[in-house]
C-alpha cells in the first residue's frame, strides 16, 4: 500500500483546498441529523454519544441520534437490505461503530463511503502511517474507509476479595480452573468477546504467532490451533457448567462476577472495571489483570455506509470524535474511561495537559500495567476459529 505514505505529502501540498473542502462539508452538514448505529448495551457509551450529539449540535448544528444495536451486524444487515431494495441514496444508517469482520464484510461488498479519514482536519493527531494501530483493523489496512475513535485492549477482571492470585498466563488458567472448578467461563464465541478469549489463548499458545498475521489456510490453522484445543480440552471440564453453557456477552459475565457466580470476567476496555465500580456494578475490590506476555489490542472505528443520507454530518461527527478535547473527555474515568487513539507525540502542550489532568482510580490500570499490545490475528482466523470451536464443542 503506497497510498497512506503519500497522504501526508499530498495533504501538505494541498492544505488550503482541503480546508476549503472541509468548510463545504461543514456547510452541507449543518442541520443534518446523524443516525449513529452503535452497540447500545453500555449505558456509559450511550451517555457519551448523547454528549457528543449535544456538542456537535452546538458547534456545527449537527445533531446525533444513536440507533442502539444489540449487535453491530444489525446495521450491516440493514444496509444490505437497503441495497437489496435499490435504495442507493438516502439510506437510514449514517455512521456505524464498527470493527474487524463487520468492516471486512462491508468493505468486501463495497458498502462503505470513502476514503474520508485523511480529509478530517483532526486526523492530523492520529498516527496513520502504515502498520500503525490506528491504520489497521484486524491486520487489514483501513485505507481511510473508517476513522478511529477509541482504543480497545483485552483485559481480565477479578474480585481481589475472593481471588488471591489470578492466573499469570493463559496456560496457568488450566491449573487455576482445576483448583477452582466452576468459577471460570467466557462469553459464547459467537460473541466478539468470547472469540477474543480464544484468540488471546491462540496468540499465546501458537507455535509461530507470525503465521496468524496471514490469511488463514487449512494447514496453518491445523498447526497453529493444535496446542489451543489441547489447552481448551484440559480447561473445559473445570469451567462453569462444565463448559456446556456460556454467558451471552461480556456484560452478562460481568454481572455473573458481581453475583458471585464466577470469579473472572473479561473486557475490551481497561477502564471498564473502574467504571463499573463507580456505577455500583462491581464490588470496590474488583481489579484488572492481564497475562504477563501482554494482550490483544485494537482500535474501534466509525464507518459511513455508501448510501448514508447524511454523510457530511457523519464526517463532522467522526472528526469531532478525534478532537483532542473529545478524546481527553472520553478517557476521563468519570465519563467513559476509554483510552485515546491519538498519538501523544502529535499533541500540543495544552492537549497533553488535559490528558495529564485526568482523575485516576484504584481499579484503573496504568498503560504500564497493561503490558505490551499484541496484534490481532488476521480477521479470517476469527471466523475459522469460532467455526471450529462450534464444531468441536456443540453437542
Amino acid at each position: 500500500m503506497r497510498l497512506p505514505l503519500l497522504l501526508p505529502v499530498l495533504a501538505a501540498l494541498s492544505a488550503t483546498p482541503a480546508l476549503a473542502d472541509w468548510q463545504d462539508t461543514l456547510d452541507a452538514a449543518r442541520g443534518q441529523t446523524v443516525y449513529f448505529n452503535a452497540w447500545g448495551g453500555d449505558a456509559r457509551t450511550n451517555a457519551f454519544i448523547e454528549w457528543v450529539g449535544d456538542r456537535t449540535e452546538e458547534l456545527y448544528g449537527v445533531s446525533v441520534q444513536q440507533v442502539p444495536l444489540t449487535d453491530t451486524a444489525e446495521a450491516v444487515t440493514r444496509v444490505i437490505s437497503e441495497r437489496a431494495a435499490g435504495r442507493d441514496q438516502g439510506g437510514s444508517v449514517d455512521l456505524i461503530w464498527i470493527n474487524g469482520p463487520n468492516f471486512l464484510a462491508m468493505q468486501a461488498q463495497d458498502l462503505l463511503f470513502g476514503p474520508f479519514v485523511q480529509d478530517l482536519p483532526d486526523a492530523r493527531y492520529v498516527d496513520l502511517s502504515e502498520g500503525a494501530p490506528a491504520a489497521l483493523d484486524f491486520t487489514t489496512p483501513v485505507n481511510g474507509m473508517e476513522a478511529p475513535w477509541r482504543l480497545a485492549k483485552f483485559v481480565f477482571t477479578y474480585d481481589s476479595a475472593r481471588v488471591d492470585q489470578p492466573p499469570a498466563t493463559m496456560e496457568e488458567f488450566v491449573p487455576w480452573a482445576a483448583a477452582h472448578p466452576g468459577r471460570l467461563t467466557h462469553p459464547d464465541p459467537t460473541n466478539f468477546m468470547g472469540a477474543t478469549f480464544l484468540k488471546q489463548a491462540l496468540v499465546e499458545l501458537a507455535p509461530n504467532p507470525q503465521a496468524l498475521q496471514q490469511p488463514v489456510t487449512e494447514a496453518a490453522f491445523a498447526e497453529a490451533t493444535a496446542p489451543l484445543w489441547a489447552w481448551y480440552d484440559a480447561l473445559r471440564p473445570n469451567m462453569w457448567r462444565a463448559g456446556r453453557a456460556f454467558p451471552e456477552n461480556e456484560s452478562v459475565q460481568q454481572q455473573m462476577l458481581n453475583d458471585g457466580e464466577v470469579d473472572i470476567a473479561m473486557s475490551f476496555d481497561p477502564a471498564s472495571t473502574a467504571a463499573a465500580i463507580d456505577q455500583g456494578l462491581l464490588p470496590d475490590t474488583a481489579r484488572v489483570f492481564v497475562p504477563e506476555g501482554g494482550t490483544i489490542g485494537n482500535v474501534s472505528f466509525v464507518a459511513i455506509p455508501y448510501n448514508a443520507a447524511h454523510a457530511e454530518g457523519a464526517q463532522v461527527v467522526a472528526n469531532f470524535l478525534l478532537d483532542p478535547a473529545t478524546q481527553a473527555h472520553m478517557q476521563n474515568i468519570e465519563v467513559l474511561g476509554s483510552f485515546s487513539v491519538l498519538d501523544p507525540a502529535r499533541l500540543d502542550a495544552g492537549a497533553q495537559a488535559a490528558f495529564d489532568a485526568l482523575p485516576t482510580a484504584p481499579a484503573l490500570p496504568t498503560l504500564a500495567d497493561l503490558g505490551p499490545t499484541l496484534p490481532e490475528p488476521h480477521a479470517s482466523w476469527m471466523t475459522r476459529l469460532t467455526e471450529e470451536w462450534a464444531r468441536r464443542y456443540t453437542e
Binding site: N46, A84, A85, Q109, F246, E248, E261, A390, T394, E395
Partner: protein
C-alpha cells in the same frame, strides 16, 4: 336488500380489502422472499443461483439436531403444560372464580411483556438469584451453588418462563369460552348422574371448550416454537433453540449467512405447520378415544388430586411470575446489590433519573405507537363487526381464521422479507411502517377480544332503537358503542399490551430508529445493568397495566349508577 344491507356489504368489502392488501399480501411476500433466499436467490448480495446449498449449510451447523430437538421439546412441552394447568385450574376453581375478579388478577400477568418477565425470572431462578439467596443461610452456601437452574441444557427454565407467561393467557381464553357454555347446569347434570367434578370437566365441559380455544392454543404453540427473546434469556446457550440460532445467522458479519438464515426461517414456518398437524392429530385421536371413554361410562371420582396439583403448580408459577416482576422493580431502585444480599446494600433513584432523555423518547414512541395501532385496529374491528350486523351476514369462519394468520406464522419467517419489500416500495423506515407492522399483530387480538361480546349484544337493543326511528349510524353511536364500552376498552387495553410488547416488527420496520421501551429493554438486557433494565421493564409492564386499569375504571365511573354496565365483562 335494504340500504343498510348494502352499506354492510361495502363496509365488509373495505375491511376485507384492507386485510388482504395490508395483512395477507405482505406476509405472503415476506415468506416468498425468505423462500427465495433459502434457495440461494438474494440478488442484493449477488446470490442468484437456485440451489439447496443454504439448506445444507443450515443442516450442517454444529449441533443443528440438538437445536431442532430442543425447539420441538420446549415448544410442545410449554404449550402442553400451559394448557394442562389452565384446564386444571379452571376445572378446580371455576365455580368460585368471579370473571371480573379473575380478569383483574390476570391483567398484570398479561400486561407484563415476555422479555421483561424472562429477565426477572432469570434473576429469580439463577444459582445466585433471589430464591438461592433466600436459601443460602439455611443451606450454608457462601457461594452460589453449582446448580443448572437457568440456561439448563434440557430447556426446563425456558419451559417455566414460557408457561408462566402463557398460562394467564390461556386461563383468560378458557374463562371467556366458558362464559358461552352453561357450565353450572351441565356440571349439575353430570354430577347427578354420578360423575365426579373432574371427570365431568374432562368428558363434558372440555370437549365443548376445545373448539373455542383451538386457535389460541395454536397461537401459543407457534409462539413457543419460535420465541427469540425468552429463549435467549432463559434457554440453553450451546446450542440454543433454532430461533436464537437464526437471529444469530441473520446478524452474522458474513452476509452470505443470510441464505441459511432464510432457509431456517422457512424451516421455522414448517415447524409451526408440523405443530399444527400434531395438534390436529391429537384432536382426532382425542375425539375417538374420548368417545370410547365416554361410552364406557367410568365415573372416576379420583381426578380431584390431579386438579389440585394443577392448581398448586399454576399458583406457584403465578407467584414466580409476580416475584420476577417485583424483583425488576426492586432492581430499578437499587445501587449495590451483591450476592448473597436478599435486598440491595444501597438504594438509589439514579437508575430512574439517570436514564433521562432516552427513557422519555422511548416512552413517547411507545405511547404513540400503542395509541395509533390500537385505534387503527379498533376501527377495523368495529367496521368488520358492524358490517356483519348491517349485511346480516353470519360469522365468516374463514375470515376469522385469516385474522389469526399473522399470529400463526412465526415472525422471523417473514419479517426480514417484509423489510426488503417495504424499502423497495420506497417507504422510509419510521413510525408509519411500524404502526402497520404492529397492527398486523394487534388487530387479531383486538378482534378476538371484541367479537364475542359484540355478537352477544342483545339484538333487542338496536331493534328497539330502530323502532324509535334511529338510523344505523345513530344506533351504532348512541346504542351499541356505549353499551359495549367495557368490552371495547378491554379490547383496547389488550391492543395496547400487544403493541407495547412487539420487538421484531418494531426493530425490522423501524430501521432500528424507532426506539420503544421494548426495543430498549431487550437491547439493555444484553448489557449487564439490571437496574436500568429494571427501569425500562417496569415502564414496559406499567404502560399496559395502566391501560387495563383504565379499562376497569372508566366503565365503573361512567356507569356508576348503571348496574348492568358497570362491570359487565372482564
Amino acid at each position: 336488500m335494504t340500504r343498510s344491507g348494502a352499506e354492510g356489504r361495502t363496509l365488509r368489502a373495505v375491511v376485507l380489502t384492507v386485510l388482504i392488501v395490508a395483512v395477507l399480501g405482505p406476509i405472503a411476500a415476506g415468506l416468498w422472499q425468505s423462500l427465495r433466499a433459502g434457495l440461494g436467490v438474494l440478488p442484493a448480495i449477488g446470490a442468484e443461483t437456485l440451489s439447496l446449498d443454504p439448506w445444507r449449510a443450515l443442516v450442517d451447523l454444529p449441533g443443528f439436531g440438538t437445536s431442532l430437538r430442543l425447539t420441538l421439546w420446549t415448544g410442545f412441552a410449554a404449550t402442553g403444560l400451559a394448557l394442562l394447568l389452565a384446564v386444571g385450574v379452571c376445572a378446580a376453581v371455576h365455580d368460585r372464580m368471579d370473571r371480573r375478579a379473575s380478569g383483574r388478577l390476570l391483567a398484570p400477568f398479561l400486561a407484563a411483556p415476555h422479555a421483561a418477565m424472562a429477565i426477572g425470572l432469570a434473576f429469580l431462578l439463577a444459582p445466585s438469584g433471589w430464591i438461592a439467596r433466600a436459601l443460602a443461610p439455611v443451606m450454608g452456601w457462601d457461594r452460589p451453588p453449582m446448580l443448572e437452574t437457568v440456561n439448563d441444557p434440557w430447556g426446563l427454565a425456558l419451559i417455566v418462563g414460557l408457561v408462566a407467561k402463557e398460562l394467564p393467557f390461556l386461563l383468560l381464553v378458557i374463562l371467556s369460552a366458558l362464559s358461552q357454555i352453561p357450565v353450572r347446569a351441565q356440571m349439575a347434570a353430570g354430577r347427578a348422574l354420578g360423575y365426579g367434578r373432574g371427570i365431568v370437566w374432562i368428558k363434558v365441559i372440555m370437549p365443548q371448550v376445545w373448539p373455542l380455544i383451538r386457535l389460541p392454543v395454536m397461537v401459543v404453540l407457534a409462539f413457543s416454537l419460535s420465541v427469540v427473546d425468552v429463549a435467549l434469556i432463559l434457554g440453553p446457550s450451546n446450542p440454543p433453540t433454532l430461533a436464537v440460532r437464526l437471529l444469530r445467522l441473520f446478524s452474522d458479519p458474513d452476509i452470505f449467512q443470510l441464505l441459511p438464515a432464510s432457509a431456517g426461517a422457512i424451516l421455522q414456518a414448517l415447524l409451526a405447520l408440523a405443530g399444527f398437524a400434531v395438534l390436529w392429530l391429537c384432536d382426532r385421536a382425542g375425539r375417538v378415544i374420548g368417545l370410547w371413554w365416554v361410552r364406557r361410562g367410568g365415573r372416576g371420582l379420583s381426578a380431584e388430586p390431579g386438579l389440585w396439583l394443577a392448581t398448586g403448580l399454576a399458583t406457584a408459577l403465578m407467584i414466580l411470575g409476580a416475584l420476577a416482576m417485583v424483583s425488576l422493580l426492586v432492581w430499578s431502585v437499587a445501587w449495590r446489590w451483591p450476592w448473597p444480599g436478599l435486598l440491595p446494600d444501597s438504594w438509589s433513584l439514579r437508575p430512574w433519573t439517570g436514564a433521562g432523555q432516552g427513557v422519555t423518547r422511548a416512552l413517547m414512541n411507545t405511547v404513540t405507537l400503542a395509541l395509533s395501532t390500537t385505534a387503527l385496529s379498533l376501527t377495523l374491528a368495529i367496521a368488520w363487526l358492524e358490517g356483519e350486523d348491517r349485511g346480516h351476514f353470519p360469522r365468516a369462519k374463514w375470515a376469522e381464521r385469516l385474522i389469526y394468520l399473522p399470529l400463526l406464522v412465526p415472525q422471523i419467517a417473514f419479517l426480514y422479507g417484509l423489510n426488503v419489500l417495504v424499502l423497495r416500495l420506497g417507504a422510509a423506515p419510521g413510525l408509519v411502517p411500524v404502526v402497520w407492522a404492529q397492527a398486523l399483530f394487534v388487530f387479531p387480538y383486538v378482534m378476538i377480544a371484541l367479537s364475542d361480546p359484540w355478537r352477544a349484544l342483545d339484538p333487542g337493543l338496536p331493534r328497539a332503537a330502530a323502532a324509535l326511528g334511529a338510523g344505523p349510524w345513530r344506533r351504532l353511536w348512541r346504542v351499541k358503542l356505549p353499551v359495549l364500552l367495557t368490552p371495547i376498552l378491554t379490547a383496547s387495553a389488550i391492543g395496547v399490551a400487544v403493541s407495547v410488547a412487539q420487538y421484531l416488527p418494531t426493530l425490522f420496520l423501524g430501521g432500528g430508529r424507532v426506539a420503544t421501551l421494548t426495543t430498549e429493554a431487550v437491547t439493555l438486557s444484553s448489557g449487564s445493568d439490571r437496574r436500568i433494565t429494571g427501569v425500562y421493564a417496569s415502564l414496559q409492564a406499567g404502560l399496559p397495566f395502566a391501560a387495563y386499569l383504565a379499562a376497569f375504571l372508566i366503565p365503573a365511573l361512567r356507569f356508576r349508577n348503571r348496574r348492568a354496565l358497570s362491570g359487565a365483562a372482564a
